[in-house]
């Protein structure tokens, strides 16, 4: 019940800040849309296939990218590092009988939902304008069901990864440099630049091993129905392994980091 109340309270807070959230969403919108224009030129207006991808498939990929990057990718690291650890807001979580990892998760969901709604609205506008011909969806129930699990897994992975980045602030004062380096790495290996299968073989292989592709790339191609049921199950298994690794790593860092917390600013 307490988590339900926190969820709705955060939702109310998010609505108070809806203008700011929308501006951030607009900024994140430009990347996929500009890339889409680039691919339109590269495929000669859709006449040429690139690496087996048609303009229709690429367009669909980037439209779903708009939703995936706003709905599935958590931005909690800044909140954890700057406000909670460095400015001392962690105090209000530590002195109450609540689990920090759980409560931050609940607090993050409304932000993802609001941004996800922005993404869905933008895609709906394009869907109507383009009469749906640049959108590819999975067709059978089993694939759709597994794709939803992969999307949830993608969000959980991104949340745990960002929490790990956040708690690094227990040791480092300046974390922005690390976050920017991670953003660039994610940009390439999560499939934001282009689908991983279009990258050079060695880069793509690294991308399939690293966890980032399981946050964006695989959820998108799962929703598009580009994976067999076997492959979908494989993705879920890898997500589960990464999730376990992240959870253990987070616990390891949290138990040590919390002893270094000084509550400065409070």
């Amino acid at each position: 019940m307490r988590y339900v109340r926190i969820f709705f309270l955060t939702f109310q807070q998010v609505f108070e800040q809806r203008g700011r959230s929308f501006v951030w969403f607009l900024i994140s919108l430009w990347g996929p849309l500009i890339t889409l224009l680039f691919w339109r030129g590269a495929t000669n207006g859709g006449k040429t296939l690139i690496g087996g991808w048609s303009l229709q498939e690429l367009s669909s990929y980037y439209f779903f990218m708009i939703i995936a990057s706003s709905l599935l990718i958590s931005n909690i690291e800044d909140d954890v590092s700057r406000f909670d650890i460095q400015l001392g807001n962690l105090t209000k979580y530590l002195t109450r009988p609540i689990n920090y990892l759980h409560i931050k998760f609940i607090e993050d969901i409304p932000y993802r939902i609001l941004k996800g709604i922005f993404g869905v609205i933008v895609c709906l506008v394009f869907f109507i304008l383009l009469k749906g011909k640049f959108f590819i969806f999975a067709q059978d129930i089993a694939t759709i069901f597994l794709a939803i699990i992969i999307c949830v897994g993608g969000f959980l992975l991104s949340y745990m990864f960002k929490m790990i980045l956040g708690v690094i602030a227990f040791w480092l004062i300046e974390v922005r440099g690390i976050y920017e380096a991670v953003d660039v790495t994610m940009f390439v290996f999560a499939g934001s630049v282009m689908p991983l299968s279009l990258l050079p073989h060695i880069i793509a292989t690294i991308g399939y091993v690293l966890p980032f592709s399981y946050m964006i790339y695989f959820p998108i191609i799962a929703v598009e129905g580009k994976l067999s049921v076997m492959a979908l199950c494989g993705v879920i298994s890898v997500q589960a392994v990464w999730l376990l690794i992240f959870f253990l790593l987070y616990q390891f860092l949290w138990i040590r980091g919390i002893k270094k917390f000084s509550g400065v600013g409070q």
């Binding site: 307490r2 108070e16 002195t95």
Partner: protein, 326 residues
Amino acid sequence: MAVITVNHLSKTYKTYRKQPGFMGSLKSLVAREYERVHAVDDISFQVEEGELVGFIGPNGAGKTTSLKCLSGLLYPSSGEVKVLGYTPFDRKSPFLKQISLVMGQKNQLWWDLPGMETLLLNKEIYEVSESRFKEVVHDLSKILEAEDFLHIPVRKLSLGQRMKMELMAALIHSPKVLFLDEPTIGLDVVMQKNLREFIKEYNRKYSATILLTSHYMGDVEELCKRIIMINHGKILFDGLLSDLVKKHAPYKIISVVLKNAPNPKKLEELGEIKSYHYPELVFRVQAETSGHSAAKILQTLEVEDVNIEDPQIEDIIRDIFSTQQA
């Protein structure tokens, strides 16, 4: 029965010094000079159930660090702390449900939402029953005169109103142990007085154990029988406020208003002159012989008015800290 037991508690921070300017930055980059700061240095004390204890000391003395160790926020470098039989840093749920930490400079309220929303959230977090919640909100809002702004967004409230909401949020679960860090900071004198009354009332009504830090001696004088003085992380005095006066200020202050300017040589014979701005003259005399000293002053000088009083607590404490620093 001791609710709080602290044995040889120490908290040390690692920090570094940097020389000013660009060269200082370069030097710090290559060979950074680290040092250890003893925020709390081997302190021990006990607090009994229902006691209201004042923790006083100058900035950086270690008051807030001590409170943070007691509430489970900080991990002690060494020593042992027990609050209600729990080790605070374990942050076990039954422990956290019985304590509350209020920090005057920061709050747990949701900035954009009415304070009532935070109260409802805390009701869920602390698993307070509906009837108990209504009763506590009714009681607290009445004592704090907060009924009118329970449903106004926090960002629209004045500092005093926010502090009242903050206290309500911290007390919704009726904690047995309350840590108050500078609860009256930034408040006007009327609000300070109201809050003191409230703290006193809460301590009386719930038999709550309260540890309070404050820069305002008014808070401590009005609320606490017992004080713990701390400086440079060490306890200088732990005992009754009245004992502090006896131990560190065995003197009285005699203030006189003179009719005529006296011979300065005569003045020196009458006692230690604390200040002299004609016609006001202030002596500091031994407490035991203060009656005799007063009589002598009245015989020797032409006096319009005379007043004998105990020294101000603030002065005594300032003297103790400055002696220690010297």
